[in-house]
Symmetry: C2
Subunit: 604 residues, 2 copies
């Protein structure tokens, strides 16, 4: 029955050989990996203007140059990652590149930054999507956090069903968003150039509170760079693509970047043309929509699909995080169980851990996107920086054809993203960025401890070539509560092993002990019964004491054999074996103690 | 460290031989067993008047006769229980008496009724006490249910520390209540007779809505009988008294009954004299206090101590229920673990179960005493009836000196309490009494099923004289993930047992399997390694399949040996043995499968 429920909820189990069918073709890959990047068009342009508007119209004039710089930076990053995909076809992104080219510690920093990025992406996207939904239906504000949690649980569920279905499910809203926003931009550009111009947004009172400064411009630039989050995911997820994996991943990356650039520039340009300034009520896209098509169906289509893909953008992390965790588990930096694929071929443990942490984060921050943003950008820019620094090293090391140009591209990228990282840290430190700066070293230390432990263990256990086993004498001990068939079976099993067999009874009631001694003697099997007093009525203490005594007297291992009664019906479980469970727990990990349970099944 | 925390919270462990020091002397026994009975003076008189006032002043005139009848009934019940204590010095109360004298089924009904009574006593007393506290501090009304739950947890905790300390803790408020209420009654009677009379309570508009009828009088009588709850507990708890147990228990019972009668009659008489009629704001005791001493310290002392002992009256159940559960566990009508005494000599399981059920009940009824009352009285009167019917049978069977008189006393008691039971059921059926009438058969059926199972099991397992053990061939199977020292140790252990030893590897990654096959061959130990494919990547399915294959081929038991890595630090637990745990759970209860864990301890 459990199996039927599992199938209904998660679908039928998938064979390992079916893995190839779970691979993503390019249209599906844009759904699975592109949501995060594409949805950022809904907030990236706003983030630039929020800063520039502080310097009034003189500041806003910098909008288009900054957007152009971001597009240029995106082009550089994309070029770098395209090179990375071909250089590292097995995935791993920043972590792999850093591991191959830089010090181990640096690669762990990259991995930690990447994990923080995946986690905060889930929290930011979900809360931003829910906020967009709430903008349409304000009554839902009271259940903001439950909505956030519900959506995260939905994503966990969909991803546990397997990665292909997840990609398939998210393709439609992505394409609706891209299509409708593209149509809006095209129509807006047509009206602007050939159709007689666009109406201006009612001018806000422009009271500059800051002068235009390099720092202001860099802050605006850093804000706009949130539009670049998500391009990392494809390089990390190369093995999930249909073969030829690298070629498909690289072309998907280029298509995605091209679409992203077109939408981003279009939004910034049209926003400039109508004089849009972001406000609490409507973002730049909404203002463009109102100016170009008014409250028409196209306006609502853009806004609703933006809300949906914002909420779903978190899915990018549900593809990236479990893969990264699996790679790190294979490198022994995370518990090995992160490397196991579940019945539906998904890395279930990574999915569950990511979802749970995101739920905690969302609850801790009350579901407010604005509060989460300072945690958001650091991780991804740290990754960019480390990854591109690694690629610089890569070209310098291998010196393939045309390496100086490639090195130069990556060098420019590394320096630029490094500066952006510093700007983000500086401007957002007090608002919450410090949490990430504390978290990353903690994560790195944890990875190192786990790795050191696995290395020690493998060395200590001589993996691959242990010594040949030596025979040890058997000391067998059977705790006995009463004399019955279960005990008889256990004694028989022990006698057939050989060695020294002893039975022991922990005396809590003198009468019971005396009755047992009598029936044991009458039974006449050649196994001595030791009566051990227990003044405090516990079983564990006297048993451990007896084990120590045998260890001292006879040396070698002690095997404790527990007679276990297996009832026929589940409801009878509570009536038996409480003692067996207690002793199993107590003996777990006791040095030199082998624990054996001998089951006797009740037929009635 | 765990041990220090345990000691701090629960006190040092007690030896079984220290049990006698945990016995109760008579003053402490009144604290431990008397609270329930004595606290009912605070609501018993009210329950009579609530009914009589429906018939106006003509009804209220029946107050004193009914009180006299209740005192007479109490005298009869007490006399009966005094005889029971001497006849059954090992405790068990109604259940024991019914078991010895009536059919088994009847004794189970008595036990079920008693358990329901204990449970509802906890719920009613705690909620009534909290309501009395809330009457002083209305602001606490918002946290009514948390207060109820907190008090029940406190009682659980105190009782887990051991029964003597529980009795000791509750002696002081009991004596303060008895002393202050006694003083109030004496002063009131003095003023009434020699001091010039008492002021009358402002007369309420007497509009009779019912005529005085036999049914009305019996309902009032039934309501007043709630004052009798709790006298059962002493007969049930004889073994907890200091020796001579029976003599001490019997005299405690008589003292308790005498004090209860005096307080009860005093309250009813003074209430009549001042024309008290219960209202939502003040109960009869409060109205007497106002009339006799006004808002003086004595008034507050009576009211506060009443509130405290109402809340603590639940403690009577925490003494009675675990003892009853232990007796029933020894008779195999409840799981045997209810018969084990914990480190502080208390029957811990019974205490925890009673407290947990009471918490659920209080939460389900929203902490409202009035809603719980209909569930309350049935259990205790059903017990009285069955117990006294049993005693009638007892005298008829044994025919000791003076048996006809004793039989007559018990007979009158049985008939009277039987009628009261019927009245309570009839008048309160729709208000919630039906729950108890459903619950008791369910409990009886559960007891019977448990008993039948234990009887079957004992028969099937040949307790006391099982057959002599026979030797069986050993089939040993070692699941192997990789070749390391832990596997080497396990293989060595298996080889020293003898029989057929096989190793198996569940193939999830072809490369890993090939590497293992190579290193296994190079290792050169004479144990074959079987590679079992697992298309769905699970371990359990292929293992069970292999076990079935061996069962079919070789017959006899299969011993599965699991290499277990024991890490040095607790935080490393999550890094190992996830597989061992999974397989242990999956193999638990598999027929014919012995499970052995061979631990290898990491030293680093």
């Amino acid at each position: 029955m459990m199996r039927s429920v599992y199938r209904l909820v998660f679908g039928r189990p998938l064979r390992t050989s079916e893995g190839d069918h779970e691979r993503l073709d390019r249209p599906r890959a844009i759904g699975a990996f592109g949501l995060d990047a594409l949805s950022s068009v809904a907030y990236g342009p706003d983030e630039i203007l929020y800063v520039l508007v502080l310097a009034g119209s003189a500041g806003v004039a910098w909008n288009l140059p900054i957007a152009a710089a971001i597009v240029a930076l995106l082009a550089i990053v994309i070029t770098s990652y395209r090179q990375t995909i071909f250089a590292y076809p097995h995935g791993g992104g920043s972590y792999t590149v850093a591991r191959e080219n830089l010090a181990t510690g640096v690669s762990l920093v990259a991995a930690a930054a990447l994990m923080v990025d995946y986690l905060t992406t889930v929290a930011v996207s979900i809360t931003a999507g829910v906020e967009a939904i709430i903008a349409f239906a304000p009554a839902l504000d009271t259940i903001r956090v439950p909505l956030d949690v519900g959506l995260i649980l939905l994503l966990m569920f969909v991803n546990l069903r397997g990665v292909r279905e997840a990609g398939g499910l998210f393709v439609i809203p992505t394409y609706i968003f891209v299509g409708s926003l593209g149509l809006l931009i095209a129509w807006g550009l047509f009206r602007l150039t050939l159709g007689g111009g666009l109406p201006q947004v009612p001018a806000l009172p422009a009271q500059p509170i800051e002068a235009v400064s390099l720092f202001l411009i860099l802050r605006a630039f850093a804000g706009g760079c949130t539009a670049m989050t998500g391009v990392e995911a494809i390089a990390n997820g190369v093995p999930v693509f249909q073969p030829p994996e690298t070629k498909n991943a690289a072309s998907t990356l280029v298509i995605l970047a091209a679409v992203l650039c077109a939408l981003f520039l279009g939004v910034v340009a049209l926003g400039n043309a109508i004089g849009a300034v972001p406000s609490g009520q409507a973002n730049v896209i909404a203002q463009i929509g109102q100016a170009v098509v008014g409250s028409s169906p196209l306006f609502y289509l853009v806004q609703i699909s933006a809300a949906v893909i914002l909420a779903l953008a978190a899915n990018t992390s549900f593809n990236g995080f479990p893969l990264l965790a699996a790679i790190m588990a294979r490198d022994s930096y995370l518990p090995h169980q992160f490397g196991h694929r579940g019945l539906r071929l998904a890395y279930s443990n990574g999915i569950v851990v990511l979802g749970s942490l995101a739920i905690l984060l969302v609850i801790a921050f009350g579901g407010r996107t604005h509060a989460l943003i300072p945690l958001f950008a650091i991780g991804v820019f740290l990754c960019f920086t480390l990854s591109q620094t690694g690629m610089v090293r890569h070209w310098h090391r291998l010196r393939g054809p045309g390496w100086p140009a490639k090195l130069a591209i990556n060098g420019v990228g590394a320096v630029t993203t490094g500066i952006v990282t510093l700007i983000v840290v500086t401007t957002k430190f007090a608002e919450g960025a410090w949490i990430v700066l504390v978290l990353i070293p903690v994560l790195v230390a944890t990875f190192s401890r786990i790795h050191a432990h696995y290395v020690d263990e493998a060395e200590e256990l001589n993996v691959g070539h242990p010594p040949r086993p030596a025979a040890t004498p058997h000391n067998l001990l059977i705790p006995v509560a009463r004399l019955d068939c279960a005990v008889a079976e256990t004694v028989g099993y022990a006698l057939s092993i050989g060695g020294t067999v002893r039975a022991m009874h922990v005396v809590t009631e003198d009468d019971d002990a005396e009755a047992l001694r009598t029936s044991w003697a009458a039974w006449g099997v050649e196994v001595p019964l030791v009566l051990v007093p227990s003044p405090y009525r516990t079983l564990v203490g006297p048993l451990l004491h007896e084990i120590r005594r045998i260890h001292k007297e006879a040396g070698g291992r002690v095997t404790v054999l527990l007679p276990e009664v297996v009832p026929r019906h589940w409801w009878q479980e509570g009536l038996h074996n409480q003692t067996v469970l207690t002793l199993q727990l107590a003996l777990r990990g006791a040095p030199g103690v082998v624990v054996t349970t001998v089951p006797v099944r009740l037929e009635r």
